[in-house]
């Protein structure tokens, strides 16, 4: 839960107001200059791509701090990587690459289990499959794009997640947006959490069903909405709904919170609604054997109707999957457009996921999987507790590897990002529109490949920068020596 102090809210609003006023002033001068200079003839008669205030935020606010986003890297996104330096001649409007790179600690990539860089078990097998199957099949799954690897991975994923069958897609975003229209259409109702990801929102919009939102992670409000909607029926005609699907995520990437899955499943069972769980950030990263939020919270996978996940975060590859009962998967293989029309997943990427899952399950003959899982849990809990002791406002639950640190003020966003980069720590800062306007934050993603020394260095740098820019909103605990804390947790 975010507790926004009043003074901070006032200063944040004031800062945004000031930026808005300056932006409008600049726009006014731009219009004036545009009047004086004649418009180009070739664009006469065409409506401009952005009218009026549509891109005001981008032009006047985002471009000022553009150097904090989209930083290119020149090595694998492992725990340490090379960030390419960029320079600008026109006050951040355009940025140019330089040849220089700086080695930084990576606190931003989704590398939860450390499979991002070359791995001793996975990489030789991936290279083997590349030589055998080439980089792409150039065909859709139903035509000539299904290889032995795809079939093997679908069975493996179903076994790993605990469902009867699974289907693969080449990209996580497409999995949501092309799947939801397939299982629900006009006359159905989708109830989704208010902080769901953009792909789910797009899929829900594209399906034609009515969409209602319930308060983030509040099962009691979900129950209220369900009761009200079932009693009222479809809008205007009041016919009963054809079906109701409730969509939630396992870990919300901007909050770091775990979903209250057992209560939500209980509510859905009571009212006969179907559940759809998006485990993009939680599969492989939480749970004793990495099986995700269901394992962590003790929910039987058979209770969730459709489980979706991606391979980008914990498995170091690309693509997504859906795991459900045999009938649903059969139906999807027949009618889901992303299966029928899209190029199938690249075979080396499939092999990477197969090898990664085998490592996690211990089927490669070593205990590296269990070690990685234990390490990420330890790292996340250690880092979160230390940050909270220093006085930062950190969101998220225990065991979740995603931890947002609240910044609030728009000026603190580039300050935090640039100061940390100067000290060779790369962090990710998120502002509007990915988060609400007043709630800008810096988001840390912990990986199993971070060592204890890396984390201690990160904590030192963040603490120094936090003092410098004033984001320690809570009183800090009296400073214990960090080594003492280190010994206690071992």
């Amino acid at each position: 839960m975010v507790r926004l102090p009043y003074t901070t809210a006032l200063t944040t609003l004031f800062s945004y107001g000031l930026l808005f006023v300056f932006g409008q002033l600049r726009d006014f001068f731009r219009k004036l200059l545009g009047w004086i200079r004649k418009p180009k003839d070739q664009l006469k008669g065409y409506a401009p791509i952005c009218l009026g205030l549509e891109d005001f935020y981008v032009r006047r606010l985002y471009l000022r701090i553009q150097d904090c986003f989209g930083r290119p890297i020149a090595s694998a996104p492992d725990s340490w990587f090379d960030v390419v330096e960029r320079c600008s001649n026109d006050n951040n409007k355009t940025l140019h690459r330089t040849e220089k790179t700086s080695r930084c600690l990576n606190l931003g990539s989704y590398n939860y289990l450390g499979f991002a860089a070359a791995d001793e078990y996975c990489t030789p097998r991936v290279i083997q499959s590349l030589k055998e199957y080439s980089a792409s099949t150039c065909s859709t799954r139903v035509e000539g794009g299904t290889t032995k690897l795809h079939v093997e991975l679908e069975e493996l994923v179903a076994r790993f997640v605990g469902k009867e069958a699974a289907i693969l897609f080449g990209m996580g975003y497409v999995t949501n947006s092309a799947l939801i229209p397939c299982i629900i259409g006009k006359g159905g109702l989708i109830i989704s959490d208010s902080l769901n990801h953009n792909s789910i929102v797009n899929g829900a919009r594209g399906s034609g069903a009515t969409v209602r939102v319930f308060q983030h992670n509040t099962p009691s409000h979900l129950e209220e909405v369900l009761r009200e909607q079932i009693a009222e029926g479809q809008p205007r005609t009041h016919r009963p709904w054809k079906k109701i699907i409730v969509i939630v995520e396992g870990i919300y990437s901007m909050e770091g919170e775990l979903c209250k899955l057992p209560e939500i499943i209980a509510v859905c069972k009571k009212y006969k609604a179907y559940t759809y769980l998006d485990e993009a950030h939680s599969i492989g990263a939480v749970g004793k054997s990495g099986r995700g939020v269901c394992e962590l919270l003790g929910v039987d996978p058979a209770d969730v109707d459709i489980m979706m996940g991606t391979f980008t975060k914990s498995f170091g590859s690309c693509g997504g999957y859906i795991a459900a009962s045999k009938e649903i998967i059969q139906y999807l293989k027949f009618s889901c457009p992303a299966h029928l029309y899209a190029t199938s997943m690249s075979p080396p990427a499939v092999q990477q996921v197969i090898s990664a899952i085998k490592v996690i399950l211990g089927e490669d003959g070593s205990s590296r999987g269990a070690q990685k899982l234990a390490r990420i849990r330890e790292n996340s809990n250690f880092f979160r507790s230390e940050l909270q002791k220093m006085g930062f406002e950190v969101l998220g639950d225990n065991d979740s590897p995603v931890m947002p640190i609240m910044l609030y003020n728009p000026a603190k966003i580039p300050a935090f990002s640039r100061e940390c980069l100067q000290q060779n720590v790369a962090v990710v800062t998120v502002a509007f529109p990915a988060t609400p306007l007043l709630l800008a934050r810096a988001r840390i993603c912990i990986s199993a490949s971070h060592t204890r020394e890396d984390l201690i260095k990160a904590l030192e740098v963040i603490s120094k920068v936090g003092d410098l820019i004033g984001v320690k909103y809570f009183p800090a605990e009296p400073p214990k020596h960090l080594n003492q804390g280190h010994n206690k947790l071992e």
Partner: protein, 479 residues
């Protein structure tokens, strides 16, 4: 008697008249108040009283908790998906080797006409070597979206290379070819804008049109007269042309029919009516034109006249991912407004290296395009006399589309017939060709058919074998 009554009435009338006119002696605001004024004041009060009284409405009774419980108990949802039947069990062939011109299926060597491997780059040694180098340096996935440390120097190099190849100032790289078009259209066209699209566009374009919430008009497949009529109708109705964005959305080579869009005519129409063109070049990038630059090069249209070009790289370039180019403003707009660019992980670096390798190969060996064109021409000639099937589609299209000369009546039975043909061709003659599949969500009205994807690496014997086996099977099926 009568006079007595008359007297009574006359007396009453006199009384009333005198009461009306009798001065009450009160003077308010300089106006003497007479009796009739009292009556009028009384009437006004009665009227006001009636007006202010609320009209009788039946009282609203919200549902009680018990009633809501009952409704919830009674409600029965439909099953999540409809039951699967025999025809919904599709079993595609499982490949056991790379998807080149020959592929191993079920242990047998099969001639492969199901992969859009137009330039024969699947299995190319140089491309694979550069991918291996990339894998060892960067790993497989990029572990982050473009804005959060997911941009690698390989991506930037790939974008610059593609932009140089096409001849546009800049290019944006997407991580999956399929979602490029359905993310680009809503980024540029919003509610209130107007889009004119061909009726034969594939599902990804249709989804993009739905998501954009704009007003969409469809014109007859590849029919310029129909397009012109619609454009005239729209232009005559728009009141403020400088406030409404207008787009024409077409594909260069249509997946559903193998036709090629007449770009010259379209550019003339677009300049006359002030529309912008969004062109999907998934199957023509690396195929059409003397050096493979696509439809604009083939038609001799300068690049600046086409506003937005998108392409999926899963075809000629034998890699995965998508690209979108245009002027600098167009590309920059996408980097901040396109959902599939912002909210998803970036392209795996080894696929970007494969794209660069593919472009280098194409630039070094432009003869591969002449070989591809020769193969297409040869195969079309061989297939010109298949019984029951007719080749439709442009002579330069690498997708050879065969549709049924006479439909059996419904899409389902057509599909049945075509599937039986392809199954037989695979089992008895070891040639892999495919039928067009239609999802239940697809709104395309074009007919189904068989598709052969011709590659520059097919040998003449492959083409002869394919044509001969298809002719044999079709002769039996349509006899």
């Amino acid at each position: 008697m009568a006079s007595g009554l008359m007297d009574v009435i006359a007396n009453a009338l006199n009384l009333i008249t005198s009461a009306f006119d009798a001065p009450t002696g009160a003077i308010i605001f300089g106006v003497p108040i007479d009796g009739h004024l009292m009556l009028e004041a009384l009437l006004v009060m009665v009227i006001v009283f009636q007006l202010t009284k609320k009209s009788h409405k039946p009282p609203k009774k919200p549902l009680t908790e018990k009633e809501i419980d009952e409704l919830c108990d009674e409600w029965v949802p439909e099953p999540l998906t409809s039951d699967s039947t025999e025809e919904t069990m599709i079993k595609p062939p499982t490949l056991e080797s790379a998807a080149g011109p020959h592929v191993i299926v079920d242990g047998k060597d099969v001639v492969n006409f199901a992969s859009a491997n137009y330039l024969g780059l699947v299995g190319n040694k140089d491309v694979i070597d550069s991918c291996v180098g990339s894998l060892e340096k960067y790993g497989v996935g990029s572990c982050g979206p473009r804005t959060f440390y997911g941009t690698m120097d390989v991506h930037l190099d790939c974008e610059a290379r593609i932009a140089k190849f096409i001849g546009m100032p800049d290019c944006a790289l997407y991580s999956y070819g399929f979602c490029t078009i359905f993310s680009v259209i809503p980024a540029f066209s919003k509610k209130g804008d107007i889009i004119v699209a061909d009726e034969g566009v594939h599902w990804a374009v249709q989804n993009g049109l739905d998501l954009s919430r704009s007003t969409v008009f469809y014109f007859k497949h590849n029919d310029m007269k129909s397009l012109e009529a619609i454009l005239e109708k729209i232009t005559s109705r728009i009141k403020e042309p400088e406030k409404v964005r207008r787009y024409i959305v077409v594909e260069a080579i249509y997946q559903n029919s193998g036709q090629i869009a007449p770009l010259n005519e379209m550019v003339r129409l677009k300049e006359k009516h002030k529309f912008r063109i969004i062109l999907d070049e998934s199957h023509s990038f690396g195929v059409l034109g003397n050096s493979g630059r696509g439809l604009a090069e083939y038609c001799g249209v300068p690049n600046e006249k086409i506003d937005i070009i998108t392409a999926g790289m899963g075809n000629a370039l034998a890699t995965d991912g998508g690209l979108c180019t245009g002027s600098v403003g167009v590309v920059n707009h996408q980097r901040l407004m396109s959902s599939a660019y912002l909210f998803t992980a970036s392209l795996p670096p080894y696929l970007a290296s494969a794209a660069i390798g593919a472009l280098e190969y194409l630039e070094a060996n432009p003869s591969v395009l002449t070989k591809l064109r020769a193969n297409i021409a040869f195969l079309l000639k061989e297939l010109s006399d298949v019984s029951g099937l007719a080749t439709v589609g442009h002579p330069l299209s690498p997708i050879i589309f065969l549709k049924l000369k006479k439909s059996t009546g419904s899409n389902k039975t057509d599909m049945h017939l075509l599937d039986s043909i392809t199954n037989q061709v695979l089992k008895e003659h070891s040639v892999l060709i495919v039928t067009t599949k239609r999802s239940s969500l697809d709104k395309c009205p074009l007919p189904l058919g068989l598709r052969l994807f011709v590659s520059a690496s097919h040998s003449e014997s492959d083409l002869v074998k394919a044509a001969a086996s298809l002719k044999k099977v079709a002769a039996v099926a349509f006899s």
